[in-house]
């Protein structure tokens, strides 16, 4: 018996996509608002990025990329991102979707996310990477027959990537001297890109609290794996801490996009937890 009835891959994936698409809509609206960044004189102009090593393409695909990344075409892609995410999110929330349509919308959204990554990695963050994982799984989910092992595998993949992301991040922090000594948060919050002046001052003025917070984050992230092996209370405790963690990061660090992309994976983590219990 679970506290939350996410016992089928279909329910899990519709919740995952309902949450993830909100974040993608906000992100697309932000990109359209600052579409000058991708223009000919913008910081991420394709006229230079096309020569970069990471995206240098074969001769046959180069003209295609040039057309796709020209300012007007790229703006159209961003509009497509906004509308496809909105359509998919609405259909999931209202639970009115045909697998074929949902699969096509997921594939279109995955295409746009990969296009952004292909254009350049500059400016992308972890929320973009988590969204790619989600939509790879979503596309294959809707391509797979109902009640198939493949569908279950798609949801398990999202859940396992989520658990992996917290665990890897926690272990990497444990390996860092600044995290262990407790100076990391004071330092991060003192920057203008990821900080808030008052938070930086607070953590510098309270080193014991700062150290406790650093170790709290390390412990939470390293132990996130307990969501799949612990009981229901552990599962919901960690998901509640995770939600609070991401909301705090949105306010303090400006990482609002992480709230949606990472919390979107939580229904898949709940399903993974449930599936492991059934399996045993």
């Amino acid at each position: 018996m679970t506290l939350w009835p996410i016992t089928s891959p279909e329910i899990a994936v519709s919740l995952v996509l309902s949450i993830a698409t909100i974040g993608i809509c906000v992100s697309a609206a932000e990109e359209l608002y600052r579409r000058d960044i991708f223009g000919d004189s913008g910081l991420l102009s394709w006229s230079v990025l096309r020569y970069s090593g990471g995206t240098s393409a074969a001769a046959w695909i180069s003209p295609l990329l040039d057309r796709m990344f020209a300012p007007k075409a790229f703006h159209a892609i961003l509009v497509l991102k906004l509308f496809v995410a909105a359509a998919l999110g609405l259909s999931m929330t209202l639970a009115r979707f045909a697998p074929l349509a949902a699969g096509l919308l997921s594939a279109a959204l995955l295409f746009v996310l990969l296009i952004l990554k292909t254009r350049t990695s500059y400016g992308l963050d972890g929320s973009d990477h988590m969204n790619i994982q989600i939509f790879v799984a979503a596309m294959l989910f809707f391509m797979s027959p109902s009640d198939s092992t493949a569908r279950t595998a798609c949801v398990l993949y999202i859940g396992l990537q989520s658990v992996l992301s917290y665990t890897v991040s926690g272990l990497a922090k444990f390996a860092g001297r600044e995290w262990r000594t407790g100076t990391a948060l004071a330092g991060i919050f003192s920057t203008q890109i990821y900080g808030r002046a008052f938070a930086g001052r607070f953590f510098r003025a309270h080193p014991r609290f700062s150290r406790a917070a650093c170790w709290g984050i390390i412990a939470f992230q390293c132990l996130f794996v307990l969501t799949i092996v612990g009981d229901d209370r552990i599962l919901f405790l960690f998901l509640a801490i995770g939600a609070a963690f991401h909301i705090a990061n949105a306010f303090l660090m400006g990482l609002g996009s992480f709230v949606f992309s990472f919390m979107a994976t939580y229904p898949a983590v709940i399903f993974l937890h449930h599936w492991l219990r059934i399996a045993h």
Binding site: E30, R34, T55, L114, L164, A172, R177, A250
Partner: protein, 168 residues
């Protein structure tokens, strides 16, 4: 039969991607991993770790006029300003500021003394020069130059790199 094969294919694919993610995050490198990473299929999950970024980086630029006089250094895109209060939900400058940060930290500073020609051909350098060259400016400007500064808390700012003058 077909359904079983499809199930197997999907399971193997996701198993492979999960394994690749673990290997990638352990720091092991290979051409296949780089390809998967480039496509966005294998993520790196080490957020702000093991060494978190605790410095402010600023990109400044100035122009030189035909008579040899120069403008004051200007900070690009308000990098020295704090985020808006509503940035937790509406942060349209997110990509711009992250991209500037990525470009600055991506520059191979150790090459600027030893192999300046290669340094100036890096994507990050070219992106910065191209962008600064296309900013709106007066018609009298003849050349432009950029400066990258690192500042940690209340300590004095340190110059990481000062470019040559680039003709406009």
């Amino acid at each position: 039969m077909i359904r079983g094969a499809w199930d197997g294919l999907v399971v193997v694919l996701f198993g492979g991607l999960l394994l690749a993610t673990v290997v990638h995050n352990l720091g092991l490198k290979s051409r296949r991993l780089s390809l998967l990473e480039g496509l966005g299929l294998v993520p790196k999950w080490k957020f702000f770790a093991p060494k978190p970024g605790v410095s402010n980086y600023y990109l400044l630029y100035r122009d030189r006029f035909a008579d040899g006089s120069v403008t004051p250094w200007l900070t690009l895109h308000g990098m020295d300003s704090d985020r808006d209060a509503i940035a937790f939900i509406w942060n349209p400058n997110r990509r711009l500021r992250k991209a500037l940060h990525d470009l600055i930290t991506d520059l191979p500073y150790d090459l600027c003394e030893t192999q300046p020609a290669i340094f100036k051909l890096t994507t990050a350098y070219l992106v910065i020069v191209k962008h600064i060259s296309t900013l709106p400016r007066t018609a009298e400007s003849r050349e432009t130059q950029f400066l990258i500064v690192e500042k940690y808390l209340d300590q004095p700012a340190q110059t990481l790199f000062r470019s040559e003058l680039h003709r406009l």
